[in-house]
Each structure stands twice: as structure tokens, then as C-alpha cells.
Amino acid sequence: MENIYLTIVLAPLAGAIIAGFFGGKIGRTGAHSATIAGVGLSAALSLWVLSRFIWHDQPNFNGPVYTWMVSDGMHFEIGFLVDRLTALMMATVTFVSLMVHLYTIGYMADDAHNWPDGALTGKNSYQRFFSYISLFTFSMLMLVMSNNFMQLFFGWEAVGLVSYLLIGFWSTRESAIFANMKAFLVNRVGDFGFILGIAAIGMYFGSMDYAEVFAKAPEHADTQIAVFGGVSLMTLICILLFIGAMGKSAQVPLHVWLPDSMEGPTPISALIHAATMVTAGIFMVARMSPLFELSTTALSFVLIVGAVTAFFMGLIGLVQNDIKRVVAYSTLSQLGYMTAALGASAYAAGVFHLMTHAFFKALLFLAAGSVIIAMHHDQDIRNMGGLRKVMPITWITALIGSLALIAFPGFSGFFSKDAIIEAVHHSDVFGAGFGWVLLSIGAFVTALYSFRMYYLVFHGQPRMDEHTRSHLHETPWVVTVPLIALAIPSIFIGWYTVEPLLINNWLGDAIYVKPENDTLHVLADHWHGQTAFILHGMAAPPFWLAMGGLALATAIWLVLHRRNPNIDAEILAKAGPVTQVLENKYGFDDFNQKVFAGGGRGLGNMLWSTGDRTLIDGAVVNGSARLVGHLAGILRHLQTGYLYHYAIAMIIGLAGLLTVFVAL
């Protein structure tokens, strides 16, 4: 099996290397064939591995494949831990990635138009793009398949790097550069917490290996350490690790980078900033469940952050007009749901939602991308309308994605989201009641913004200009096939996987839940099949809230909008201050921009001018460089070229050593 796992990881890397280094030679077709072959192989094997786990009771694999070094008893290794959780993630990542690879052929076909004439970076941009997304797949697989914290950190940083490269892919655009810098800096804050958490683990456990750390964790359950006046070690470690997850999975207040990341090409918004990378934080916390279970404080922190993100980010989605930004805010909100599930110890439900979300959110993004292609890269939903007639496949698949997103009964999102709300309802950690209220109202908000976008894009009168309208047509097969391929799991995967994942504890020993924290057993105790679950869900408030949102959206943006096309703007204007707050995104951006960016620059300037330029550069760096140079000049002259000078030097050396070691 080890070889198969290695192949799964390395095939995308090989594709990335071929397309990246030899892109100019092999051309566009060569680049996308090589990367798709790599990712395709990886996806096929991942699905096979998953099927082994499902039907053949495949044993877990946990072992090193390469030892980098052993220092002070701590092993630094590349190793794989493949259990059911990993297999599920591998299959999801590689499948979505494969779809996105295919889709990219269509989306990037005209990429030459996106570059100013003569831009050097525009050369071979198509090949470079394929290289990046394959490299991303490699990094993400390294992350999810890791069996130790060092490799986890490597994967974590590698996906961050690729994300940075791809957000700023159109590097001649000011806004893209701003967005990728922002994503990079915000993630730095999270990663700092993350690496401190790993360092704490290294310090107290003396190991980087998951299994060893998890086995030793209960011994440290009551360890107190003397920072901030004494906190529990496990709480500190878990919160630090979770700060890393907050950065990567865009939780409040480290969420600010995700909406801006939409500056990147749409395929990567689907792959990285919706389906896979942003869920790395969720995956990581689920993987670390044996640690998080030891700290109720950390769980409560996780739950509250998740619930706040789920509700308040959904609200912002209501006032966005850029089609991709609406989807981006819905991603933030859904990540909040997953995080809340983790906080309620319903790790399986979080992972379940991660999986269903990966499919329907990738679908929604790719559908949005399809609309963007048809609209000649106009992303403003106020300029769309009536697209259902010209783009039937995009329309139907987008509808499926939206229904899955708002948790319409029977669709995949229903099972996962309902399970999360139910689990939070039964949770006893501090803040669970608050969380439950936010998540339930969140269901209403989700339905409202999702169908606002849906109706504005696909229904009503066409509002685009004449030129665009005359060119509207359904996108080519490389775009629509991935849409269909993602629509199918968006409908059905929830129905088929809810029972094993949530009820029968299919993930097994990959996740550890303390018996007293087990919020999913309530679900299991009352389990009478999917139909009963749906009927039960239809009797609960979240369902009615969601349906209320759907009805309200229909009323406003389908019915009223037909009579008054300006209704959208009028409602926003009436809400006045509320709209203002939402459009400012609660002021996070302004605050960061002024306080952190401004303050950082001010401090930097000060340190630069006084500390760096005069003290360090002036005195230390240039001073020491000049000193070394000067010294070198002098010493060099000792090398006179005269034989007797050399002999004298040897004699002096001899005399010196004799004096020191014999005479003294």
C-alpha cells in the first residue's frame, strides 16, 4: 500500500514539475495533459483506497517513508497516516481537483486577454496555472496524509504558498497583488499561532508523531503552565493550533483575506478557497480531536468563533453584488458551521459538512465561473438576469448547488447542516445555546442571500448590455461536464453517507470523542433512516427559518423585482445604517488597514530610519563588512609570495605552540 500512497502524493507533483519547468516546450496541450494525467491517476487511486476502506475493511496505515533527521530523540520524518478520515479527504480533494483541472481548460483558454501586451509573466501563463493547481493538489495531499506535525506544517505552508501564488496570478493587476499580500499576511498571523502550538507539543511531548502525542496527551490533561498567570497546557495548545485553523479556514477575525482572494481566477476560488484548502483547518481540528477533547475551554472557544462566523459573515453576503463575493461570504458562513460542529465535539458532522460542502460549493463556484465566462468577465449580478434561458446546464446545476447550500430537505447539505445544528443543540459546552441560536438564524440568512443571487442571475429580465447579450451562450463541455459531475454528489452524497458517517461511526478510531461530550449519539439514538431524519428535520425551527428565507427571497427578487427592478437598491437604502455596517464588513478591513497595516508601517518606518539605517546598516552591517574587507586586505598582504616569509610563519607557529603547551 505504501507505494500506492506515494503514487497518490507524487503523481500531481510530477505533473506540476512537468508543466512548470517544461511548460514552454510542451505547450498548452502538453501541460494540461500531464497535470490531468497526474491528478487523474491520483484521484482514481484515492477513490480506490476509499472503496477499500468502505467495502474491504482496509487496515490503517501509519508509518514513515523518509526520515529527514533525528535530533535529540525527536524524529523529523515524512510519513503517512491513512485511515478512514484521511481516505475521505483524499478522495474529496483529488476528485474536486480533477474536476477543476478539466474546467480550467475552458476557463483559461483565453487567458492571453488577461495580460497587458508584452507582460513577461503573461508568457506561458496557461501552463503555469496548471502547474500551480497540481502543486496545490500535492501540497494538500501532503497535509491530509501526514502522520506528524512537521509534515502537517509543511503541507499547511505549501498550500498557503500556492494560494498566494494563485490569488496574485494576474500579477499585473494592482488589486490581485493587494489581495495576495493580504491573504499572506493574515495567514501569517494564524500560522504564528499554529507553529507556537506545534512548538508547545514538541516541548512537552518530545515528539512530532501524531500517534505518540495522542497516546501521551491524557497524561498532560491536568498540566498547568505558567503563562498568562497559569493556564492548562492542553487549552493553550488547542487554542494555538486553532488560531492556525482560524487563519486557514477564515474564521472571525482572521477571515478578512478570503473575500479578497476572489481576485484569483475562478477555478482556484472553487478548488482552494472553497472546497479544499480552507477546510484544512477543519480537517486539522478533527484530526487533533484527542487533544481538543481534553480542553472544554478550547472547545467552547471553537464553538463560539464558529457560530459567530457562520451568522455574521452570512449577513454580509446579503449586500454583495459581485457574484463571486456572494459565494465567498457563503463559504465563510459554511466554514463557521463546520467549526461550530467541531466545538460541539461533533467532529464527524464537521467533516461530513466539509465533504458535502466541497461538492456543492465547488459546483456553485464553477457555475459562477461559467456565468462569468458567458458574461465576458463581468461579475456584477446587477448586470445579469434571465440567464436560465441561454445557459440551461449552468442554470440547473446552480439551482442544485443553491438548494444543497440552503439545506433543502433531501439535498446533501441538508443532512450535514441539520446534524450540526442538532449537535450544537445538544452540546453542554459554554456558549452552545448562543451558538445554536446564531446557527439557526443563519439558516434563514443563508437561504436569503443564496436565492437573492440565484434569482438575480438566472431569472427576471436580462439587464446586460446589447453586445454581451447577443453573445450569450452555454459554455463548452469542459466547463459543463465538471458542473454535472459535481451536481450529482451535491444531491445524493448526503443521503448515502449520513448513516455510516454520523450514526455508525464509520470514521472509527480516526476521531476520538469523550463519552460525555458525544453530541452525535442523540442523533444515533433516534435514528430511523434517512426519511425519518428528513421528516424530523422538517419539524424543527432551522428548517422553517430556511424555508422562510427562501420564501422571502422568492417574494422580493422574483415577484417584486419583476415589477420594480430597483427593489434591491431600495431595500438596501431603507436599511440605511445596517447596510452601511454590512457594506463596511463590520469595519474589520478598515481597522486592520489603519491599525495593523498603518501602525506596522509606522513602526517599521521608525525602526528602519533610526534602527536599521543608522544603527544596523550604518554601524553593524556596513561597518562589519567594511571591517572584514579591510581585514582581508591586510591579511592578504601577509601572503607575500616569498618562501622565507612562509617558512618564518611556520616557525613562529611552532614556537607559539611549544611555548603554550610545553613551556607553560
Binding site: 523518509y66 526520515t67 529527514w68 533527521m69 572584514v628 574587507g629 581585514l631 582581508a632 586586505g633 591579511l635 592578504r636 601572503q639 609570495g641 618562501l643 616569509h645 612562509y646 617558512a647 610563519a649 611556520m650 613562529i652 607557529g653 611552532l654 605552540l657 611549544l658 603554550v660 603547551f661 610545553v662
Partner: protein, 477 residues
């Protein structure tokens, strides 16, 4: 000391080299000028056979021959294997260069082979006499090799300096040996160690002898202040000779230090450890600082060697098995890096043009990307940039001195390494960011290209997978 046939088996690798050298010497007489390539082929075959015989006679057990004058153990197996490989690289790199300059004659092969024989005898020496004989065999051949280009004034001058200073160095070594003999009554390394253990280490004569012997070792290594021959010799000698001179003999110097200090004088660790601290700090300081001021790349690499010697001493002076293994690892790795660096220089020289100055490397990235990449690997490795093996070597010796509490020494070493990184990285910068002065493509032979690729990639590979080589080094102590 009766002769036993089994001795011949123990010294099989040396016999193979001796026979090869003799065969080349005779065959060369019957070759016309256009047939000299046969020398080359015979030499390569001999070297490969010698390598195979090292593997054949090698093993975990230790064997002695000639009444304990000669020893074959895991350390000698590894080091002999390494020096043979380094010599193979030398011949492959230098064939075009020597042919272009009418130095493609049998004597070159014979002298290098005899030097190699000297190196191998030093590696396997088990008493002071065989050590001295091996050293002299090596040194005499090297004097001749340095002056191999008879028409070159610089070469003759360098050989003269080398000869005179080398004589002083060996004179001191011999004097020291006689002191040690006087104090202990033995020349076998084991006898000396036993006598020192029995009589104690207070004897001033012992320390007196030790200082002289150490100077002999330091001269061979080129440690400050016994390094002054190196820049001049490196600059004056033909590049392929420097290529050889900077690789295999340094490994021999390590063997000499390890045999004498660890086998014969372990009791004097307190004394020679302190002497090595002084020599290593001086070497790192002078080597790294003066290298910055050099414009001639051969001189620069000479000073770089001086600084690497400081690192090799680190492992020895730690006085632990881990330290010895680290020093051995460093010596082997250094040989590989040196042969790679000079190999590239030899390859970019061509008829009527000597690649000598740093400026000659300018724009190599445009002229020959692959060769440039290999040179970059070597430079990064010498500077100690991970994941190249040079990083691992530095890390191991630093770990060794830190483990015995000499933290200040490690800090000094790191500071000088940072200073040293400047001139290695400057080479990389010149290769990739400066405009070439000549644009002609590099005319290196295919076999040399393969060799340099193996060489460069080995540096990368060993850096990522150091465990195997490290295990071999650890097994030697």
C-alpha cells in the same frame, strides 16, 4: 617479521594500484603520441578494479599485515573507496584539459596513481614508519605533479615553494616521531598508546613530540599558520593537479590525523584537543576572511579549504566517537565538493584559455545551464545551505562540539561560516546575474559532463539522505 601470503590479500587494493601504475609506465613507452588514450583507459580500469577489491577485502573485522605495520578496518575501507572514486573523477574531468595542453602523457597517470598509492598507505598505516613512507610517496609525486607543466614559470615556482615548505613540514613530523619514540620506545600506534597509558601524560617530551607531529599533520591539511603554501600552489599548478591535490590528499590528511591522534595518542587528548582548537579557530578566521579578497578562484578555493579544515578539526577535538564520525563525514564530503568545484573549472577551460579568475564564471548560467546548476549545488554545499550535504556536515561537527560543552566554539564557527557564505554566494551571483565576457559554449567531453552530474547530484542526494554515509562513518569508530 615473517612474510605470509595472506598479507597480499589484505593489501590487494594497493597491489592493484601498484600494478596499474607499473603497467602504464611500461605500456606508455610503446605508445605513439596519438595512442596515449590507452593510458587513460588502463588507468580507469585499474581504478575500478581497485575499487572492487576494496569491496572484496573489506568487512567489519580488522586485519593487520606485515607485523602490524599495515591495518585494514572499516575506516580504511570507506576512505580508500572514497579516494579511489575521487581519483576516478580527477581523471575523467582532466582528460580534455591535459590533451589540449600536450600533457597527455603516461607520467601524469603514473604520478597520480603513485600519489594515490601513498594516500592509501597513509590510510592503512598502523605505525609511524608506514605513515611516514606513505606520506613521502604522496608528497614526492605531488611536487612533481605541481611542476608538471614544465614551461610554466608559475608552476615551477609553486613546486619549489611546495617542496621546500613540505620538507620543513615533514622534517618537523619526523622530529616529532623521534621524540615520541624516545618517550615511549615504540613506533606502532598501539605500542605508543599502551606506553602512554602506562607512564601517564605528564612527560614533557611526549607533549614536545606531539606538537611537532601535529605541525606535520596541520601542514598536510593546510591549517593556519601552516597553510601558506596552499594559495601559491593552487594558483601555480595546472588545474587538474589542483583538482587532485585538493581532494584525495586531504582525505589522507584526515586519515593521518585520525590514526595518529586517535590510535596512538588518545591519552594526550587534553593537549592535542587544545592545539586543534587554536588551529581551527585561526583557520576559520583567516580562511574565510582572506577568501573574500581573492579575485583568483583557485586562490579563493585554497582559502576556502583552509576554512573547511577548521571544521574537520572540530569533530576531532570534540574527542567523542560521534565527533570523529562527524569529522570523517566532513572530510569525505569536502573531497566530493572540492573535486566538483575544480572539475567545473577544468571543464570550462579550453585550449589557450585558463579559467582562473572569478570573472571567468560570469554568465555561466547562460553559457551552459546544466554546468552552472552543478557549480551552484557545489557552492551552496560549501556554504552550508540545506538540503545540500555541506549543511549536514557542518551540522554534525557543530553538534559534536556543542555536545562537549564548547558552545563558544560553535558560535565562532557559525559567525565565520556566515562571512564565508559571502564568497560562495558571490560565485552563484556571478554565474546567474552577471553578463558573460565570452559567449562561446563550453566544450566539455560527454564523460566529464556525466561525471560532474553524478558529482553534483551526489552532493544533493547525500544531503537529503545522509543516513547511509553517516552510518558508515560511525561504524569506523
Amino acid at each position: 617479521m615473517p612474510f605470509e601470503a595472506a598479507y597480499l590479500y589484505t593489501i590487494l587494493p594497493e597491489l592493484v594500484i601498484l600494478i596499474t601504475a607499473s603497467v602504464v609506465l611500461v605500456v606508455d613507452l610503446y605508445l605513439r603520441d596519438d595512442q596515449k588514450g590507452l593510458n587513460h583507459s588502463l588507468t580507469l580500469v585499474g581504478l575500478v578494479l581497485a575499487l572492487a577489491s576494496v569491496g572484496l577485502v573489506g568487512g567489519d573485522q580488522t586485519a593487520t599485515a606485515f607485523g602490524g605495520a599495515f591495518v585494514r578496518d572499516p575506516m580504511s575501507d570507506l576512505l580508500k573507496g572514497v579516494v579511489i572514486v575521487l581519483t576516478l573523477f580527477t581523471f575523467v574531468y582532466s582528460s580534455n584539459y591535459m590533451r589540449d595542453r600536450d600533457m597527455w602523457v603516461g607520467e601524469y597517470h603514473v604520478l597520480v596513481l603513485f600519489s594515490l598509492l601513498g594516500v592509501m598507505i597513509m590510510i592503512s598505516a598502523n605505525d609511524f614508519l608506514s605513515m611516514y613512507l606513505g606520506l613521502e610517496l604522496l608528497a614526492l609525486c605531488l611536487y612533481a605533479l605541481v611542476a608538471f607543466d614544465r614551461d610554466s614559470k608559475a608552476g615551477s615556482e609553486a613546486a619549489m615553494k611546495y617542496f621546500v615548505l613540505g620538507s620543513i613540514g615533514t622534517g618537523m613530523l619526523l622530529y616529532g616521531i623521534s621524540m615520541l619514540y624516545g618517550a615511549t620506545g615504540g613506533i606502532g600506534f598501539g605500542d605508543v598508546a599502551a606506553a602512554v597509558a602506562a607512564t601517564g601524560t605528564d612527560d614533557k617530551v611526549l607533549v614536545f613530540g606531539l606538537v611537532f607531529v601535529l605541525i606535520g599533520i596541520a601542514f598536510k591539511f593546510g591549517a593556519v599558520p601552516f597553510h601558506m603554501w596552499m594559495p601559491d600552489v593552487y594558483q601555480g599548478a595546472p588545474a587538474p593537479v589542483v583538482l587532485f591535490l585538493s581532494s584525495a590528499p586531504k582525505v589522507a590528511a584526515f586519515a593521518m590525523a585520525a590514526r595518529i591522534l586517535l590510535d596512538a595518542l588518545p591519552g594526550l587528548l587534553a593537549d592535542w584537543g587544545d592545539i586543534l582548537i587554536i588551529l581551527s579557530v585561526l583557520s576559520m578566521a583567516v580562511g574565510n576572511v582572506v577568501a573574500i579578497a581573492q579575485t583568483n578562484i583557485k586562490r579563493m578555493l585554497a582559502y576556502s579549504t583552509v576554512s573547511h579544515v577548521g571544521f574537520i578539526f572540530f569533530g576531532l577535538l570534540a574527542g567523542t566517537e560521534q565527533g570523529y564520525a562527524a569529522a570523517m563525514f566532513y572530510a569525505v564530503v569536502y573531497g566530493l565538493m572540492a573535486v566538483g568545484a575544480f572539475g567545473v573549472l577544468v571543464m570550462i577551460s579550453h585550449k589557450g584559455f585558463e579559467a582562473e579568475n572569478l570573472d571567468d564564471l560570469k554568465g555561466l548560467g547562460d553559457r551552459d545551464p546544466w554546468l552552472a546548476a552543478m557549480m551552484t549545488l557545489v557552492m551552496f554545499s560549501m556554504a552550508g545551505v540545506p538540503p545540500m550535504v555541506g549543511f549536514m556536515a557542518k551540522l554534525l561537527v557543530l553538534e559534536a562540539v556543542v555536545n562537549v560543552g564548547l558552545i563558544w566554539l560553535a558560535i565562532v564557527a557559525v559567525v565565520f561560516s556566515i562571512i564565508g557564505a559571502f564568497y560562495y554566494l558571490r560565485v552563484v551571483k556571478m554565474i546567474y546575474f552577471d553578463k558573460p565576457e565570452v559567449m562561446d559554449p563550453v566544450t566539455a567531453s560527454g564523460s566529464a559532463r556525466i561525471a560532474v552530474s553524478v558529482n553534483g547530484l551526489a552532493i544533493l542526494f547525500l544531503g537529503m539522505f545522509p543516513a547511509g554515509l553517516l552510518a558508515l562513518c560511525e561504524a569506523a569508530f
